[in-house]
């Protein structure tokens, strides 16, 4: 086999991803006297977590004293349409409070109650005011805090490193292959244990609130390595994304706007939520609000730009300025003063509920491989509650770091699967050398438009079947022909996009294939042609079969406390 030059770097625990979950995992793992490396695809601190706005769910009861983890659990399961892995949801609600105190200990500055405790605001589908926050820049506050903590720790941060493939040796995790985005070098990171914290994949849809890096690297890498993935069909469309200008389309408009009292209006000035969910109105589940908005638009009661109106102008200006400062700034850029005028909003692809299947130690089905945060599935079931994702990053970030550290303590380094690594490098090299082929920009557009039009909020058998067929074709015919314009390795976004494209297609296929076999409506998966016989109380697990085909199996729900109705 042809050889390409590469560098190999050793560590005890390798964390892939440097957002909320990755940083938290790395910080935890260093507590075990281990050498920890955290790979960041972006510069430290620029991960998507920084874009989370509204808050962190934790049943502290600081505002509503009757709140407790039990209620948080119940809200999470009901909100998740009973599809959650209840064992994981129990961990979420159990540890959320200690992890928020960890953040404070590290230096986080959350907004306060008059007694000096962490303030909490109402969020959708929650029984109490539970969402801790720092204005509407809670994710940024958490990210900044974690960066401060990482800078205090002995974690070795390798920034702008793009992990492309998980390496296994004798069935155990051995490390990852990667490229150095800055200089283009091939690298192997070998570790005794690996934590995947690679975030989501909103970017497989045309309209998304997600950062550019959220292309599903982790889902695809885990799939290729043989991990089980769960609930991949469950994609959350956040009901309120920006509509215009075009370049801001899909940008998140935090649920905190509705939490603080914002109301949704159609073009006739009607507060339409009373026709859909009169009990909870704007604070219905995200899937429910998104569908209500789209129904208004489809039935001709939308705004001229294809959204509806979200108004907060009836609130005192001081409240808006203190609690929704980013929203003021964000809409100012679009020429709208939200203190006086309504915002135009429509749904945007926001979060993947599904992902790598983990156990109660955050372990995957591959020994030594752990996972945390949005790249995992099971915690949120069929619909994630606003505010549960930030809690997820901290709870499972810390847990995965601890588990990986313990595993690393108990195991020696594996051997080096050098051939597999070299095969990966040759594949990446071929994209650069290919003389004829398809540009990543064109390929990406075809893919994201396909997903946005065919595997979206309202799903239909023919459309999904078409998408699946197309995705298989893209996988077989387009992915192998991806070609980079300029054959340079040094910081070449064209090359990065070409590599990412393969990950996007694999991820999109898992979503579409799983969606196609779920015949009924459940959670975020809403079918206009739902089979009434299919109550949907099961999970779909995706894995790569022995023959290389995608295998999908239905599994029984994991229930510890609450049985579906």
């Amino acid at each position: 086999m042809e050889e390409l030059p590469y560098r190999t770097i050793l560590c005890d625990v390798l964390v892939v991803g440097a957002g909320g979950a990755g940083c938290r995992a790395a910080i935890e793992a260093t507590k075990y006297n281990l050498d920890v490396i955290m790979l960041s695809k972006e510069l430290l601190g620029k991960a998507h977590t920084a874009m989370a706005e509204g808050g962190y769910n934790v049943s502290l009861g600081n505002v509503d004293p009757d709140d407790n983890p039990e209620t948080h659990f119940k809200d999470t399961i009901v909100g998740g349409n009973y599809l959650n892995d209840q064992a994981l949801a129990e961990i979420l609600v159990r540890d959320a409070s200690e992890r928020v105190f960890d953040l404070e200990e590290m230096g986080a500055v959350f907004d306060r109650t008059p007694e000096g405790k962490i303030a909490q605001r109402p969020f959708g589908k929650q029984s109490w005011r539970r969402t801790a926050y720092a204005s509407d820049r809670t994710g940024s506050e958490i990210m900044v805090t974690l960066v401060e903590a990482v800078r205090k720790s002995a974690v070795r941060v390798y920034d702008e490193i793009f992990a492309t493939k998980l390496l296994l040796h004798d069935g155990r995790i051995a490390g990852v292959t990667a490229i150095d985005l800055k200089y283009g070098d091939y690298m192997i990171f070998r570790a005794k244990a690996v934590v995947m914290a690679t975030g989501g994949a909103g970017r497989v849809y045309t309209v998304t609130s997600n950062a550019q890096l959220d292309v599903g690297d982790g889902y695809a890498m885990a799939y290729e390595a043989g991990c089980d993935l769960i609930d991949m069909e469950m994609v959350q469309f956040h009901p309120t994304g920006m509509v215009k200008p075009e370049s801001a389309r899909g940008r998140l408009v935090t649920e905190a706007v509705r939490g603080e009292g914002g109301i949704l209006l159609n073009s006739e000035g009607e507060r339409f939520m009373h026709r859909y969910y009169p009990g909870v109105m704007e604070l219905a589940g995200r899937d429910q609000v998104a569908r209500s908005i789209m129904t208004e638009v489809r039935e001709g009661r939308g705004s001229p730009d294809g959204g509806v109106y979200l108004s907060i102008s009836h609130l005192p200006r001081s409240i808006i300025e203190f609690r929704l400062e980013s929203m003021i700034e964000q809409f100012e850029d679009a020429g709208v003063d939200i203190r006086d005028e309504p915002m135009q909003v429509s749904p945007t692809c926001h979060h993947f509920m599904g992902g790598i299947k983990i156990d109660e130690e955050a372990g995957t089905n591959i020994p030594g491989l752990f996972a945390a945060g949005e790249c995992t599935g099971g915690v949120h079931g069929g619909n994630r509650l606003g505010g549960n994702a930030l809690a997820d990053t901290q709870v499972f970030g810390a847990l995965s770091g601890e588990s990986a550290a313990k595993f690393a303590k108990e195991h020696e380094m594996t051997g080096l699967p050098k051939e597999k690594a070299m095969k990966e490098f040759l594949k990446l090299e071929a994209m650069l050398k290919r003389e004829k082929g398809i540009s990543p920009a064109d390929a990406r557009k075809e893919l994201t438009d396909l997903m946005w039009t065919k595997v979206q909020i309202f799903r239909k058998e023919e459309e999904m079947a078409f998408a699946v067929k197309e995705l298989r074709r893209i996988e077989n015919e387009v992915v192998p022909k991806i070609k980079v314009d300029v054959a340079e390795k040094r910081f070449n976004p064209g090359w990065h996009q070409a590599i990412e494209f393969g990950h996007m297609v694999t991820t999109a296929r898992m979503v579409a294939e799983a969606a196609l076999i779920r015949k009924g409506s459940r959670g975020a998966h809403y079918r206009v042609d739902a089979d009434p016989e299919d109550d949907g109380y099961y999970n779909i697990v995706v894995r790569k079969g022995a023959n290389g085909d995608m295998e999908l199996t239905k599994q029984e729900l994991i229930i510890t406390k609450i049985t579906p109705p």
């Binding site: 998507h48 874009m51 404070e104 405790k117 401060e148 550019q212 964000q330 850029d333 020429g335 064209g494």
Partner: protein, 519 residues
């Protein structure tokens, strides 16, 4: 055909190219387009290997800072102006990796040097009780997204990494304000050259979160340092002692303007307005002719000028260096003097011709008085150029007729442009003078290095900044540089000593043209 914008992007791959070069692209303009959109357009349509960083496209992550037409800003929140072509370059100070991507390693080292986290001496209780008031000030300066644009624009960082730059000095202040942090951040700030900042406000101006670093971090840390007993530099303390003793920041030399003037009232027939003239220390003690020129220019435009005989320093040097005791005493005195003069002479507007005084009266005095008595000083404050164009109005101005045939450029004082929002008016005045060929300096708003107590306290650094400024000025090819601040005038004429370029104060030049026109 759709409108297109000429977009020149700096390209450089050190593996292949000798040096950076600009490459031009035609970008289709769309309403609301940002610089990031333009870059993505180029990447998608022309060259996918064009290297730049971005992630969130919403001003939350701070990845995409680049130099846009000479000034560093985050690309995703900078609108493209359809009337103007775009030049996009990588941030200054940081080595280039490729195209617009720079190496942030140095910055990261520089951040780590300040132990940038809450240091504690004991584990906190859970829950930890922290009251909203305790963190109110932290909250504001905590919004930083570390885009590093301010580091690229900072005139001090441009000369030396001894000073950590706005982004990092802000983090020291954030930790000083955090009740949980136990480190001596004030001592650290001294060690980190907090007295190097000229308070030019370039950082605030381009900050995507509009963090007022000079006020909320630099001056705050300096005030805490003074409170903790750290001595000011000799030159700085000299100013302060002088203010406390005489009400003037500098010692008397020639006959002061206020003593030389025979009257307080300079009135005209059928006046269109009446203003009080706040001379400031330098016009009174060093630039008496400029003071007379200002009175003349206003009189010629039909405005009565009242010059109260008793005046007091605005205490800018004290505000800038952290001696709040001196500063607040001066605020009360100045307010009293001018409020009394208002009543006595019947005016409601005070005109200044010193950028530093104007900024201090507006930004620093008002909050102090408001906090003390619930309402700000009763008089309005205007810079001379601003008063002439915005209050008198261009159409009502008496045009100067004497020809001054010169190539003239303009230095925008930091505390006039960014300090008071007076940007175009002084240039408008210059352009009214017959014969003047105005030459725009793309770096006209860069600091001259005099402010913030730096000229007084750190002469060597101040000279370095001024030398860079001299390069910008010389590049214009102008034979005269004009400005609207005595402190800048002194600094710039010092640094231009031995060159052919003359330094003038705008009121002087205007008065000269009026007088020539009389003949």
């Amino acid at each position: 055909m759709a409108e297109t914008i000429k977009t020149s992007v700096q390209r450089y791959n050190p593996d292949n190219d000798d040096a950076p070069y600009l490459q031009d692209f035609e970008v289709e303009y769309e309403v609301g387009m940002t610089v990031l959109d333009a870059l993505l357009y180029v990447q998608d349509k022309f060259d996918s290997s064009l290297a730049f960083r971005w992630e969130c496209r919403g001003g939350q992550c701070g990845s995409c800072a680049v130099k846009v037409n000479g000034t560093a800003r985050i690309a995703c929140r900078t609108k493209v102006d359809p009337e103007e072509s775009l030049v996009l370059e990588p941030l200054d100070k940081m080595p280039i990796i490729k195209d617009l991507v720079v190496d942030m390693a140095q910055t990261e080292y520089r951040i780590r040097r300040i132990r940038p986290y809450v240091a504690r001496d004991k584990k906190p209780e859970r829950p930890e009780i922290i009251h909203a008031e305790e963190i109110e000030k932290v909250r504001e300066i905590r919004k930083c997204i570390e885009c590093a644009a301010c580091l690229s624009n900072c005139p001090i960082v441009h000369e030396t990494w001894e000073y950590p730059g706005p982004m990092i000095i802000r983090q020291i202040a954030r930790l000083e304000l955090d009740p949980r942090d136990v480190e001596d951040r004030v001592g650290m700030a001294i060690d980190e050259s907090v007295y190097s900042c000229t308070t030019c406000k370039m950082c605030t101006d381009i900050c995507p979160k509009k963090i007022d670093v000079p006020a909320l971090a630099v001056e705050l840390l300096r005030a805490k340092a003074v409170e903790a007993g750290y001595p000011l530099a000799e030159g700085q303390q000299g100013f302060i002692d002088q203010i406390n003793a005489t009400g003037r920041a500098v010692p008397e030399k020639d006959a002061p303007l206020l003593k030389a003037l025979e009257t307080e009232e300079f009135t005209v027939e059928n006046s269109r307005g009446r203003v009080g003239f706040f001379t400031g220390c330098l016009i009174d003690y060093r630039m008496q002719n400029t003071g007379k020129a200002l009175i003349e220019v206003l009189n010629r435009n039909g405005v009565d000028v009242i010059v109260p005989k008793e005046q007091w320093c605005c205490a800018s040097p004290a505000f800038r260096t952290g001696d709040l005791h001196t500063a607040h005493a001066a605020v009360e005195r100045v307010t009293e003097i001018f409020e009394n003069a208002m009543d006595k002479h019947g005016f409601d507007t005070v005109v200044v011709a010193c950028a530093g005084c104007g900024k201090t009266l507006r930004e620093d005095h008002r909050p102090v008085i408001t906090e003390k008595r619930g309402e700000p000083p009763k008089f309005k404050v205007h810079d001379l150029a601003e008063y002439m164009l915005d209050v008198i109005g261009k159409e009502n101005l008496v045009l100067p007729k004497g020809e001054i045939k010169l190539k003239i450029t303009y230095h925008e004082p930091c505390h006039l442009g960014r300090g008071q929002g007076v940007v175009d008016q002084p240039v408008e005045l210059l352009k009214m003078i017959p014969g003047v060929e105005y030459i725009e300096d793309p770096y006209r708003n860069r600091c001259c290095g005099a402010g913030g107590g730096v000229r007084a306290g750190k002469r060597e650094l101040s000279q370095k900044i001024a030398t860079t400024k001299r390069e910008y000025i010389e590049a214009t090819g102008a034979s005269m540089i004009t400005t609207e601040c005595p402190f800048c005038t002194i600094q710039i004429s010092d640094i231009l000593e031995g060159s052919e370029i003359e330094t003038r104060y705008i009121p002087d030049l205007l008065a000269e043209s009026y007088r020539k026109g009389d003949k």
